[in-house]
Symmetry: C2
DNA sequence: GCCACGGGCAACGAATTGGTTGCATGTAAC
DNA sequence: GTTACATGCAACCAATTCGTTGCCCGTGGC
């Protein structure tokens, strides 16, 4: 068996889990939503309308940045955050892989049952 | 504006965050990987090869079940768990939406800059 | 009937997380 | 230069999470 496909899913957890973990918070997911609409936004801007403190938002942004989902850049006296689509793309691709693998397994089972 | 698209992303966090949170753990993501290969497996079976206790695995499975990612069914003296593809599909769709929205925003910005 | 296997339940502990407040600092604006 | 704004940093707190151990119970095999 080639070192592809099969081990791909087995090796993925270590890389993908942190990304999913970062997305696994309501506040952070909202931030992603906001940032995907209007791309570079400052922390105070992102705090508007939220029910938590600016510091909380700041921490959340650092978490997202740590997972590679977002990137912050200081500009003057404010830090602008923008989406980093690569990480989200990889997460999406992982889910695609699971779907595909699951589909294959199901097809295999079906074939086995019908034989 | 129709009540679709735009509010879709805004309303999503509450529904999607728990799913991502459930996936945001290395052990649980491994379980998903195992279950997507061979579909119905018992808890002890899923514990094999893991470096944590059966109870830990059991708890993780409950978390996944709570998020709708997995479904367990008692069969004799063992509980068989199988993947529930719907939740993962929705997560995937969410990421697709973010991608699309982000792409549109980027296109809009580009158009604005070039005009 | 007896024993081994597969799990559930509960209590507990250590570590992490999500949030706060208070204060310090650099930058923009006037 | 003074003032207001945007942020960083640190300490701290409550709640949750991940994992353990110990014990009990139902089921299956012999």
């Amino acid at each position: 068996m080639s070192p592809g496909r099969r081990s791909a899913l087995a090796a993925a957890p270590r890389r993908q889990a942190p990304v999913f973990a970062a997305l696994g918070d309501e506040t952070r997911l909202s931030l992603v939503g906001k940032l995907c609409g209007e791309s570079p936004q400052s922390i105070s801007r992102l705090t508007e309308g939220s029910d938590v403190t600016r510091q909380a938002i700041s921490k959340h942004l650092r978490v997202l940045e740590g997972a590679g989902i977002v990137r912050g850049q200081r500009r003057g006296r404010e830090t602008l955050f923008r989406l980093e689509p690569r990480a989200l793309d990889q997460a999406r691709r992982y889910l695609d892989q699971v779907s595909a693998e699951w589909g294959r397994a199901l097809a295999g089972l079906k074939a086995y049952l019908e034989e």
